[in-house]
Symmetry: C2
Subunit: 743 residues, 2 copies
Amino acid sequence: MAGLRTLYGNDAKTQPGLKSNFDVDYVIHYKIPVPEAERAEAEAAFVQLVKGLANVGFATEVRNGGKDSLLVFTKIASDRLLHDQVYRYRVQDWLYGVRVAAPNQDLAQYFQDEPVSEAERLRLTYLLITKPKNEGGAGITPKMGQWKNVASIFPLHDHAFNSHWIKQWSTKYYLDDGDINQIRDRFGERVAFYFAFLQSYFAFLLFPAAFGAAAWLVLGQFSWFYAIVNCLWSVVFFEHWKMKEVDLAVQWGVRGVSKIQHPRPQFQFEREAQDPVTGEIIKVYPHFKRFRTQLLQVPFALACVGVLGGLIVSCFSIEIFITEIYTGPFKQYLTFLPTVLLTIFMPTLSALLTQLAERLTTLENYETHDDHQASFVQKIFVLNFITSYTPIFLTAFIYVPFGKILVPYLDVFQLTAQKFTTQEKPLPTKSWEMNPDRLTKQVIYFTVTAQIVNFATEVIVPYVKRKVFKTVEDVKSEMSEKNADIVKKDVEEEADFLARVRNEAELDEYDVTVDYREMVIQFGYLALFSVVWPLTACSFLVNNWVEARSDAVKIAISSQRPIPWRADSIGPWLNALGFLSWLGSVTSAAIVFLFHRSEHGPNGSPWDISGWALLLSILFAEHVYLAVQFLVRHVIHKMDSPGLQKERAQRFRMRKQLLETTFGAQQGHDAQDETNGPGLSGGEKITRETLEEEARQLSIKGSGSPEQLFWQRQRGPSETIQIGRNLFSEIAANQTKHKTAKE
Amino acid sequence: MAGLRTLYGNDAKTQPGLKSNFDVDYVIHYKIPVPEAERAEAEAAFVQLVKGLANVGFATEVRNGGKDSLLVFTKIASDRLLHDQVYRYRVQDWLYGVRVAAPNQDLAQYFQDEPVSEAERLRLTYLLITKPKNEGGAGITPKMGQWKNVASIFPLHDHAFNSHWIKQWSTKYYLDDGDINQIRDRFGERVAFYFAFLQSYFAFLLFPAAFGAAAWLVLGQFSWFYAIVNCLWSVVFFEHWKMKEVDLAVQWGVRGVSKIQHPRPQFQFEREAQDPVTGEIIKVYPHFKRFRTQLLQVPFALACVGVLGGLIVSCFSIEIFITEIYTGPFKQYLTFLPTVLLTIFMPTLSALLTQLAERLTTLENYETHDDHQASFVQKIFVLNFITSYTPIFLTAFIYVPFGKILVPYLDVFQLTAQKFTTQEKPLPTKSWEMNPDRLTKQVIYFTVTAQIVNFATEVIVPYVKRKVFKTVEDVKSEMSEKNADIVKKDVEEEADFLARVRNEAELDEYDVTVDYREMVIQFGYLALFSVVWPLTACSFLVNNWVEARSDAVKIAISSQRPIPWRADSIGPWLNALGFLSWLGSVTSAAIVFLFHRSEHGPNGSPWDISGWALLLSILFAEHVYLAVQFLVRHVIHKMDSPGLQKERAQRFRMRKQLLETTFGAQQGHDAQDETNGPGLSGGEKITRETLEEEARQLSIKGSGSPEQLFWQRQRGPSETIQIGRNLFSEIAANQTKHKTAKE
């Protein structure tokens, strides 16, 4: 990890402005367009921007941002405003049930008891900048409408923390809760949840890694025992995470924040209407219209399957033809053809379809960020599912069982090729024989090679790219003498700081979705195909150790500091995990059935012989899976956890307190279960007094109603007891009489 | 329905004490044992009983209950005590989140705004009688420990209401929400939920009844189209009910009451410990021990399968042998043998196993009523599942496909029979041919005949039995002259009333579980087998119309008035419904596949030919089912309902109110989404003031820190704007220079 350390170390050395953030909360990167008309418009908008910020209570400073842009620095001008905001949002949390107890009305005491974390301050500041004017914000939404020249609004990195963070993590074997809490305080719960998930997943991987290694040595591939254990593991992991997620949310005090939705500024409403319940004016977009747009997801999914699946199937077929049938000239070069085709087309098509997915999601016009994000994630998952797993599915369930039937059709390539060559005689081929190791090789490729390639493209390439681009641009800027001009005008004490901020303004925003996607797809390989190569988990274990650190580096160095949003779960990815875990039970069963050597050779075409047995084993595996899931869920549901205990304690405290204020302090102690009835003496007093009073009144009025008479016959409990005793003896006498009469 | 009317009418005539309840809340039926020692003990306990009741604030009256028993009448002595209880429990509801708003502190006003319903009063009174002394109750738990002579504690029927209720329902075609609400006010939410479910189920049955009739005419039996529609219907019904349930719970203000658990007095704790969270002393029974007991459910289920399944299989085999193979003497009598065997053994074994289930559940030693009930219901469902569906499963999936292979083994009966006869020659038999109508006949039997028989055993038999028993006992009592003695001693005004109470004391408690069971099992026939006979739903429609009325009669006449417990759902039966609905997709697919005549004759043994096709169709059907369920759930989740609207309105009102008290009335209007930021003017003032103040202080102190200097460069927004504008023109100049330089 020395490399990572020097990576940061270098940055620190080259950027002396890392020491202080000059109390800046947010930097607004304002682009100045070149055409004159637009520039005038931009200037007017800029004036509005600063005025708007000042109006809600921000102090502002403007500096030249380089490359035709301004940097507007903002901070909340007074602590009173900040505390007001914090108090308001905490009250809102309480009203929505996120906080159990209402905030204390004594503000000074309150902020001492529950100090404002950095993440909270930054989040509320960002909301203050972006939320609409009628809700008390400045209404500045980057890249939209009036603010189309606002390139980004970002907080500044705390480089002292970052550098410490990276150094600490790179020397640690295992991340604990304290590390995650640190992330939470700095980058908010949304990012913290990702790292918590990564940590939890990493810890859980230890078991399949150890068991997988043992299984690989003892049981070999395609072991049904490994498949069962693996499925069980994935169920336990999934259910455990679901609990852990709730637990963390409670510990972090964010359980239920997903109920407090942030409206999407891009939402287009069709009409305004009065809410029948609250009487407020709400913006309405008909469900039906949205549903109609959502139906486009079906052709979209089909297009994904068609385009990506088609590409994969073609490359797959060409590959088989060239490597396993073709023996003619240029074979050594042609072997690379499918890889080249995939490398060229796959990223292009993926990017295109991702864009399409984004467009489609925007068209669906959701009212809130969360809905939008969930819908987008769903589409992204479909895309990635196809690109990641189709090749293995093809090999396992088409190539192996149906190879003998289908491979002869690959002659089409031969015929096509022949058309382009002038040769008369057919291209030299050999008769096809199934390559039994193909599946294993493929799984190893996807679980080892691809992970390494991924790491490289994710961390090293952007870093190198940035370095190269920066050098090129530095040269270019210096040539145009613009940059030199700017730097010259910077005040000496600020120069380094401004240089660094200009640099951070150019960085990408950090998108946690990308990292989630990677982990979920990885989990999929483990759940779906690790029975082919039980060492899969070992590879992932190593990969994820590096992944956590490289993601940290990505946040600290290669991205703008993320806005610390809250979250109470990993969101839509949870469903994806559950789906993969379930599908794992089906594919594992099918793969074991098809490839387990003791019963069926890998060469056999088992279709005709035992289709029903295959289906039966799938059906069986799936239902066992569902039953086990039900059981595990039940057991985990019964378990206690620190978060739930904390919540219970909070609720208990609150109830006790409220009851004490309602009923007085003495009776508060038995608040939890049942509230007190009247005391012993009190009860009797009431009974006697009321009865005597009634009796008195009756004697004045003369005889009462039948009801009153009924309750007057026995005055007080002592008379009831006396008469009851009389009845006892009467009945006893009767019983004895009856007995003797019988005898 | 004239019959029902006269049924009630007769009772009313024979019991003139129906007019008034003499303000009695509860009647405690106290048995006096015959042995002298026990009687003395019972007398002491009786004294304690009356004292205990008086201590918590009850007025008491005692009367002779006839048949060696006493009747202790109780009512809450003062309105203040009642209101105190109601207020406490409503506060508790609020603390547990059942009520949205806290009860008003002004009690007089509060009880005018939200009056106490009869059900609420009776429920709280019952709790006051039964809850432990340390929680402020009288701690009287019937049939347990000290109170083993307390036979029952029951409220008195409101016969005026009952008679009106029965008359009204028996002349109505369709029950509406008003009718259900009436039930709720009188008998509590637990009973009301049953009737609401029944009503909802009845309304939903209209569709399959109409569609089934059409399908029967047009499509015939075993139609895949009918199967699909039926499955879809069951999904929609199930999901709709889940929503409806929540909706009703919200409308009735009981959503979440299942969180407020009633402790089971029978719970045996192993040790007392301190709750780590609340510091209270709690009773602990180790989870592990309970789990060990729960494992007994497995042998229990196996025993059920073994015993009941064995009985059914035996009778089934004997029946086939006698009706379809045997041709010897006494055939006409022997045909009844299996029915006789079933009629004798089935109820006996069922009762035995039900008792076993009860014992087992008690052994599992749950802490709360709800857990206990849920576990018991689970076992009961397993039992009833076996007794109800096994015969049809046997016919559909064993008799038809494997009949040819298995029937020859039935010769064992012949051999056995021959041993008992002295005949030398073999008993006369004919060669077996499958009876293709067997399945249909069986389904018709279970869905029509059995329902009628059920109705008879449920309503008419107990009524007749009661009448007969009563006459016999009257005669007996009169002979022993005891009854006459008692009646003679009754005061004239009370005589009729007491006679009626003595009668009610002898009635059974109403158990809603029995009625739920019946409906759920009925739903099972529809979901699982109605594809065999599409008219099933028509039969159920008629049956359920009668069922609702006969259940009403059962509550009003044949049972003690139920204690009006609350509930927020139909509880564990919901899972049973979901399970049956899911299983329906599997069995329907299998039955259609096996019996659909166009492809496979009912005589064929499809196993060898197309086992995989059968499995594939099941697999397919099941997954389509799950997908549709997912979709329907999603759609229903999006829908609004009166209950949810009501809840939303309540929450909105509460938030608005709370925010107004916290932040003052002006800012309360935008309470729902985001709380207000500082006003326009306020913000600017703060900025300027603080900045100016800072600047002043700085000028006193000399130069400040770099941070202070940074924020001092532009004093206030106007300077920022000015400098920003300068930067605009500078950059513009630069851009122009650059452009011209290029040109």
